[in-house]
Amino acid sequence: MLAIQIASFDPHSSQAVRLVQFSIFIYTICAAVLLLVTGLVSYAVIRFRGRPGQPDPTPGYGRVKLEIAWTLGPFILVIVIFVFTFRTAQAVDPPAPASPDLVIVAHQWWWEVRYPRAGFTTANEIHIPIGKDLAFRIESADVIHDFWVPQLARKMDAIPGHPSNIWIEANRIGTYLGACSEFCGAEHGWMRFRVIVDSQVDYDAWEKQQARLAADPSPGLPAEGFRLFHEETCVRCHTVDGTEAKGDVGPDLTHVASRQRIAAELLANTPENMTRWMTDPQAIKPGCHMPNMQFTGDQVKAVVAYLEELR
């Protein structure tokens, strides 16, 4: 991917399209003003270069009419920009509904994704159907974060005690990368996520699968992993629906194996990477709240075998 992909200029939701149109309008005005100033300065610099020994020119002290002109000109421009700002804001960011379609809760350094209508929770990967205008509520469980998917929506801070709302109506199937956009501590750099826009059919299938409770582990290694998971305090921080694991410090793991990435986009979700992660999370994501569980190699294998069944 050598071509520079300018996410902010490649919108795939009705809201982002409006944002880009408005932004390009503003950048064009800025570029025109810059061109004007650069032109005037360049002309003055070339044309009025002093020669050695040249006497000082007769003093000029200013011309009030000109100055009034270049006070009023920018003033009018500002009014024009303000009117378009107002209209764009109204279109992109309408008032919030009483109950949102999705609730995003930002944590240090991952994203909890709740689907209140279907009644399940996932993490770091947000599936939405194409063509539906969806209301997202943005909340925070600890410090201030910011929810930003440049190709789909405006950014919105996640502030403790101050929920906010945004709208997304995606218009193309695909995967769109997002990132926390407010400094939030050690692993701010790896507080990333993705939004996957599905066809309605695919979305419905995904929703049905996510709403299921976790299946019981197979006998053998997965069952051993299940036992470790419950005995070695994993359950204090993680939830697996249908079991006793009800913690909400770390991501919901009910269907963790169905996700594409782990550790908020840091690694591809493969058994090898999951093994590395379970062995020493602090080596991979220094400062994150997942401790090194001091598992032996066999214990890691068992837990990974269990997690891989959580599809």
């Binding site: 991917m1 050598l2 520079i4 992909q5 300018i6 996410a7 902010s8 932004s23 503003i26 800025c30 003003v33 100033v37 005037l40 300065v41 003055a44 610099v45 009025f48 270069r49 002093g50 000082d56 020119p57 003093p59 000029g60 002290y61 200013g62 100055e67 270049w70 006070t71 500002v78 303000f82 700002t85 804001a89 992109v92 240090q108 943005i138 600890d142 201030i144 910011d146 930003w148 405006r154 950014k155 919105m156 801070d157 502030i159 403790p160 101050h162 709302n165 990368l177 990132a179 926390c180 956009s181 407010e182 939030c184 050690a186 692993e187 701010h188 750099g189 990333r192 220094p286 400062g287």
Partner: protein
């Protein structure tokens, strides 16, 4: 006309006899020139430290996934870079120029309160030491120069770094307020007879307005620092949701200081440009009144724009519209200045000294920073780009391409007055071009990085080839910029040792500081020339075309 009487104050005991080159004479000095030079020397030192921190950050970001700095080390370094550059470099550097030049430019012999002046400087220096001591006391602050609550609160920052940050900023802030007060009293009461407010050099005009802005902006910061300390040390909850506090309150407090602060960091630089461009264009400033009054307009508006730092908070459209409008309006008086400076060159006979080159480059680079600022005020743009590298680019175009370029122009312009020697123009040419190219190489591409989706304050980023290449370019530019600073330091050293003698008025300038020797004597003036216009030395040299005849005011 009794020009001599008002400009003089009785000097504090001991100052008359002090040997200028003796270390003790510096440490105990209450002379505004020595204190001004100490301000500049200290800020140059901090500038070097903050620059090294910037290079460390650029090394870590040069390519995706590097592990030069740990996440926590990176967060400490970027917090210290921002805090250093804002509180220990840009503001005090401008205060240093103001302290050195204001009394000279108004024909006074010192500041109104010389001892308070010394206190301001020493509070700055020891505030700086206190801040840096945190490295040895359990870790530097790591919550950003803005220390957003609740990240800066005890549960999320248990190390003492944030406490050092707050205490150091309190010390520096008290010193800055004292300096602002001192400058106001000096400029209002110690002007030489004839130097009415409408004949004040524009630099002094802007220092005066800037000082009022300091009095408006710094106390809210000090108050909120105390509140943060009470939260952290006494378990109060001004800024935590537990017990009814609000993290958004911190943002309101901090930015009600923080945005006037941006203009505190730029108005005196505007003043320097307003002195330098006329002298090297050999023309009086185009539209003195517009340039002066537009400064007051900027200062006034700057107190009512703070929530434009909070467009992503979700305060609601009424807030966003009000603060968007006030922020856009600042473009009008700022635009007036840029047009007036350009018009000053128009019809002139421009002398391309290093100082003038920096001033001309300032016109372009500052305009870029100003225009992206207008784009952010149109807040749907901000909704996309705030807290991305686009902002990093924007604010460096304002503070580096604006203020620092103006300060370099000012150093080349006033160094001869301060030292009695000229800075080398050969080295100056190298310094200018390396700075100009290095600066644009570093920061222009960061606009694109922001548009491509790279958030700021991240210690690393995903393995995207295009992001890696753009970051690498930025890092190369930063090192070029580092080299340019070395060239500047060499120039300072070489010129102090063996630069050509400056004489009283090497640039054929027109304001009062050029009417005395270089460097000026302890009492500044043997005799202050009569002031009948904004350009007294022009009037002396051109009695037939004197300003007070052609353009009385």
């Amino acid at each position: 006309m009794s020009d001599m009487t008002l400009g003089r104050l009785p000097m504090p005991l001991g100052a008359e006899t002090a040997d200028k080159h003796h270390l003790l004479s510096w440490l105990t000095s209450v002379d505004h020139k020595q204190i001004g030079v100490m301000y500049l020397a200290a800020t140059l030192g901090f500038f070097a430290v903050g620059g090294i921190e910037a290079l460390l950050m650029r090394i870590q970001l040069a390519w995706p996934g590097l592990k030069v700095l740990s996440p926590d080390a990176y967060n400490q370094i970027f917090t210290m870079h921002g805090t250093t550059m804002i509180f220990l470099v840009v503001v005090p550097m401008l205060l240093g120029f103001a302290t050195y030049l204001s009394p000279l430019m108004i024909g006074a012999s010192d500041m109104a309160f010389p001892r308070l002046n010394a206190l301001s400087f020493w509070l700055l220096l020891f505030g700086g030491f206190l801040l840096y001591f945190s490295f040895f006391a359990g870790g530097a602050p790591n919550a950003g120069w803005f220390s957003y609550a609740p990240l800066s609160e005890k549960p999320y920052s248990s190390q003492p770094g944030t406490d050092y940050w707050a205490l150091a900023l309190l010390a520096i802030g008290v010193g800055t307020i004292a300096a602002g007060l001192n400058l106001i009293v000096t400029i209002i009461t110690l002007r030489t007879p004839g130097l009415t407010i409408r004949r004040l050099p524009l630099f002094v005009w802007m220092v005066l307005i800037n000082s009022f802005l300091i009095l408006v902006a710094l106390p809210p910061l000090n108050a909120s620092l105390v509140m943060l300390l009470v939260d952290r040390q006494l378990s109060a909850h001004f800024f935590t949701t537990l017990g009814g506090g609000s993290p958004i309150l911190w943002q309101h407090y901090f930015w009600s200081f923080g945005h006037p602060e941006v203009y505190i960091m730029v108005l005196p630089a505007f003043g320097m440009i307003s002195e330098i461009i006329p002298v090297f264009s050999r023309q009086p400033i185009f539209g003195y009144a517009f340039v002066a009054v537009s400064t007051a307009a900027i200062a006034f508006l700057s107190t009512a724009v703070w929530a434009h730092h909070m467009f992503a908070v979700g305060l609601g459209h009424s807030w966003d519209l009000a603060f968007g409008a006030s922020s856009m309006l600042i473009a009008v008086p700022t635009g007036v200045k840029v047009f007036n400076w350009t018009a000053t060159m128009w019809g002139g006979a421009i002398r391309f000294t290093t100082s003038m080159k920096f001033a001309i480059a300032f016109l372009i680079t500052f305009t870029i920073g100003g225009l992206t600022g207008v784009a952010f005020a149109a807040f749907p743009v901000d909704w996309q780009l705030t807290d991305t590298y686009f902002v990093v680019a924007h604010m460096h175009y304002v503070l580096f391409g604006g203020t620092v370029f103006a300060v370099f122009a000012g150093v080349y312009y006033w160094f001869p007055k301060m030292s009695g020697r000229m800075l080398s123009e050969q080295l100056g040419r190298v310094h200018f071009w390396l700075t100009f190219i290095g600066f644009n190489l570093t920061f222009l591409i960061q606009h694109v990085l922001g548009l491509a989706g790279m958030p700021r304050r991240v210690y690393t980023y995903p393995n995207f080839l295009s992001w890696g290449i753009m970051n690498l370019i930025s890092t190369l530019g930063a090192f070029l910029l580092g080299i340019s600073v070395l060239v500047f330091l060499v120039n300072l050293y070489v010129s102090l040792r063996g630069g050509s003698t400056a004489g009283d008025n090497p640039w054929e300038a027109w304001t009062l500081e050029w009417a005395t020797t270089s460097p000026p004597p302890l009492q500044n003036f043997e005799r202050v020339p009569p002031v009948r216009s904004a350009r007294p030395l022009w009037d002396l040299a051109h009695p037939e075309e004197a300003d007070w005849k052609c353009h009385p005011r």
